[in-house]
């Protein structure tokens, strides 16, 4: 075991944990004040729900002994065999517990991301059951396929820190939920204006900070590779913030603070699969493209008429997809992409994109239908009018 690596990865795990309340604030500021607590809760409570499920069975299903390339076994259920030493650890340099808890934080934030799509109209009880089932039936297979020795790993798909496992999965799920749940009351006629953009910008800053743990930590050691991932992460965020506000201005508007924050997040999403595989200059190119592409991506919801309240599809779905393909083009460290004489990698990335979207959308569809039929997921018009904070939590965000 390498104790320097251990120190680094434990700190990175804490950084990634911090991204979940950061996401809560990012989303919270974007909704109307009567829904701020319900929105924050949908992210925050994942720390509770997913962490426990991860320890009980989630970690094992993701990283346990492979069964048919599709799922892990239950050898690590209840963290059996996951101890302070490196026995059984997928990363030999780290205590097994360190690897497990680092991965735990990724599992926590992924279902939280989806909540942006159904903000302001999802009932809490149904949401909790949906999220628990989604973790087990969508996240753990994806995690296993890409990182746990499953079929995508075998195929050679490159996903450094979760472009598929975290972003495409949540993006596909978000699209499915937005379509099935339907629109918010008043969509198309009522103005849904963000009630606290300073909160959103704070959240974006926390996400950017935490993302260093997310991407650099995925190097799983405190070496030059982590340094590279740290730098590519930062550069992509920076470039994307710029390209988003340029896109806004070119589209006939002004550069907005929300645009700068959204652009940075789009860049961070896009670099996630690529961070350890590309060098800094391609990272800047990836960021520049991601800002503009995701800006266009959020316009899609107006074209197609689905109410993806907080643009999870436009930023995570499309950003993650672009990032996965960009990895196939620009990879030069540990693998070669198209520009380095290996067109096959781009094909592999493309297959992983299709498979991720298809599986995650379809499985989310089934889970949604089952939970909706049994518990019910959509808040009534009257509940939406009163506000989800009062309706679901008997709380008010602000005492004026």
């Amino acid at each position: 075991m390498n104790f320097t690596d251990n120190a680094f990865i434990l700190i990175c795990a804490a950084l990634v944990m911090f991204m979940t309340p950061g996401l809560a604030l990012f989303y919270g500021g974007l909704v109307r004040s009567k829904n701020v607590l319900a929105t924050i809760m949908q992210s925050f409570i994942m720390l509770g729900l997913v962490s426990v499920l991860w320890a009980v069975c989630g970690y094992s299903l993701s990283f346990g002994t492979d069964i048919g390339g599709l799922i892990g076994g239950l050898d690590f259920a209840f963290l059996n065999g996951v101890g302070m030493d490196n026995i059984g650890s997928p990363a030999e340099n780290l205590p097994h517990l360190t690897f497990m808890i680092f991965q735990c934080m990724f599992a926590v934030i992924t279902p939280a991301l989806i909540s942006g799509a159904f903000a302001e109209r999802m009932k809490f009880g149904g949401f909790m059951v949906f999220s628990a089932l989604w973790l087990i039936l969508v996240y753990t297979p994806m995690c296993h396929w890409v990182w746990g020795g499953g079929w995508m790993d075998e195929m050679g798909a490159l996903d450094f820190a979760g472009g598929a496992v975290v972003h495409m999965s949540s993006g596909a799920a978000a699209l499915c939920c937005a379509i099935l749940l339907g629109k918010r009351k008043g969509h198309g006629s009522t103005a849904f204006i963000p009630h606290n953009l300073p909160m959103t910008i704070l959240g974006a800053g926390i996400l950017w900070f935490g993302w260093f743990g997310f991407n650099a930590g995925s190097a799983l050691s405190a070496d030059g590779g982590a340094a590279n991932a740290f730098v590519t992460t930062h550069m992509a965020a920076a470039a994307a913030a710029l390209s988003w506000i340029i896109a806004e201005w070119a589209h006939g508007g002004k550069a907005t603070t929300l645009g700068a924050a959204s652009g940075a997040v789009a860049g961070l999403v896009a670099i996630t699969p690529a961070a350890g595989f590309v060098t800094p200059m391609p990272a800047i190119i990836i960021g520049l493209c991601a800002g503009a592409i995701c800006y266009g991506g959020i316009m899609l919801k107006n074209r197609f008429g689905y109410d993806d309240a907080l643009d999870v599809v436009g930023i995570h779905g499309i950003g993650g997809t672009f990032g996965a393909l960009a990895t196939g083009i620009f990879a030069s460290i540990g693998a070669e992409g198209l520009l380095y004489g290996n067109p096959h990698q781009l094909w592999v990335q493309f297959v992983s994109v299709i498979a991720s979207w298809a599986f995650c959308f379809a499985m989310t569809f089934v889970i949604f239908k089952v939970v909706d039929a049994t518990i019910g997921l959509k808040a009534t018009d009257e509940e939406q009018d009163r506000g989800m904070d009062i309706a679901e939590h008997s709380e008010t965000g602000y005492q004026w």
């Binding site: 103005a191 204006i193 963000p194 508007g253 800006y295 959020i298 107006n302």
Partner: protein
């Protein structure tokens, strides 16, 4: 007795308070309101979605004075609040049936 309601620009609050205190008005109530008349609203843009915001923030100052004093108060308020631009607002004068001072129970003009 008359109630004088002054609805005008938010930044005019201090000017109006100074002007009214200067002529002997001893109390007033202020609320933050929104409204529109001829003044247009403005456009806000969030992630490419444009919203036309029609309601403009204003302040409403309520003052109750003796009948004889009302005209002087209205004139002082109008002078203090006026900028000459669309959006200066309005003053409404209405009769007040009765006034009670809660602390002592006094009524009528003594209670103002």
């Amino acid at each position: 007795m008359k109630k004088i309601e002054i609805i005008t620009r938010t930044f005019k609050l201090d000017d109006i308070k100074t002007a009214l205190s200067g002529i002997g008005v001893r109390g007033m109530t202020v609320s933050e309101v929104k409204g529109f008349g001829r003044q247009g609203g403005h456009k806000e843009v969030y992630r490419g979605a444009e919203y036309q915001v029609d309601f403009v923030p204003k302040i409403k100052i309520d003052v109750v004075v003796e009948n004889d004093f009302a005209a002087e108060v209205v004139e002082a308020a109008q002078k203090a609040a006026q900028t000459g631009q669309v959006g200066d607002g309005k003053i409404f004068i209405s009769p007040v049936d009765e006034v009670v001072r809660i602390r002592t129970g006094e009524t009528g003009e003594d209670a103002i």
